[in-house]
Symmetry: C2
Subunit: 220 residues, 2 copies
């Protein structure tokens, strides 16, 4: 069974949980407390030297980091990963847009606010993040005003990736009111059979101690 | 012929120039002055709503943004794009690492310093970017101490992507002295036949006016 090192409040982790649920793939989960530095312990850094969740464990010593790389791996041979070369390029465009133009400006303020980490230094860069976050939402709005999903006529991992932090953007102070096409698209994603909300995951939990003592049973 | 909207000082643009050169694929280039806002004009925003270079034009109205998405598209069916599912996941891990953990911390200080944009506000976040940039270099060093390239035994687009801003990291104040494995890898990349340096591109240049009047001749 696949094993996901995760944090329930993380949108990056949620991307993986959501896709696994949509694909009806079972997995076990290890919850790490990022506020207590559990992703920066020697034990976890041995698994992911970059010290971040989500991290997907396929088997003994075989792990994939980076949420969007995990999505592409899991979506292989499903409708969530376009096969045509040009469509795959479009999907990757949106995945890199998500990590560069969207996540640092929309997810980071949410993290600071909901985890009580909005220091004075961070408050000074917040207006610029707000401006860039709204610019990213405007790029999405423009696309979704003319297309039902980000690539083609059905949801792909580009939609799963962008959904994760967009649907909780208001928790970071972003009003989605002006983005009608984005709101319509959020509703289409939430209506997909198998959809799960961000923090309502129910299933098998494994502690970090168990995870370190025992490799996951079998790869996908 | 492919057309690349570009800026010679941009490492993201260089990734594409370097791969096209290694693959011996001809292209024409449009230089945009990012300091004068040429990527945010209505004319350019009509081509890329996210207002960034590089942007690869394949044909009339058909364009790919995001440097790492462009690399994957161009590398299709070459040795630079791994075919196996697990190797492709590893390649994507490094590409997302590059855009999230590396570029914002290593490329951005270089941009501020070399373009005289280091304002007081930016100077306050510079120490944190330095810390995170060195953390990214340490992750690379750890990997390269045990492997010749980022994925497998030969260079892939993961190497091209990470090479671009790593080899000019000293221009942003990063001393690569402590990273012996990284320096050895940089030398291996620079030794690949077809290698071109970052700002020495020579070839057909097209002005923005010409580019807007005439679509590129033919797609790849």
């Amino acid at each position: 069974m696949l094993r996901l090192y995760d944090n329930l409040s993380s949108g990056n982790g949620y991307k993986v949980r959501l896709l696994l649920s949509l694909l009806d793939v079972p997995f076990e989960r290890v919850e790490l407390d990022i506020d207590r530095g559990e992703t920066r312990t020697p034990q976890f850094l041995a698994k992911n030297p970059n010290g971040r969740v989500p991290l997907l464990e396929l088997g003994p010593g075989d792990r994939i980091a980076e949420s969007n790389a995990i999505l592409c791996y899991l979506a292989e041979a499903t409708s969530y990963l376009p096969q045509a070369r040009r469509a795959r390029a479009a999907m990757l465009e949106w995945l890199f847009f998500e990590q560069y133009s969207h996540e640092p400006n929309i997810a980071t303020p949410r993290y600071w606010i909901t985890h009580n980490l909005l220091t004075a230094d961070r408050a000074t860069v917040l207006p610029e993040k707000r401006r860039l976050g709204h610019a990213a939402l405007a790029v999405m709005e423009r696309h979704l005003a003319a297309h039902p999903f980000f690539v083609g006529e059905a949801p792909t991992v580009a939609d799963i990736s962008l959904y994760a932090y967009t649907h909780v953007a208001p928790e970071g102070g972003f009003d989605l009111g002006p983005y009608a096409a984005v709101r319509g698209w959020l509703a289409r994603i939430a209506a997909i059979p198998g959809y799960v909300p961000i923090t309502a995951w129910v299933g098998r939990e494994v502690t970090m101690e168990e995870a370190s003592a025992r490799a996951p049973a079998a790869s996908l």
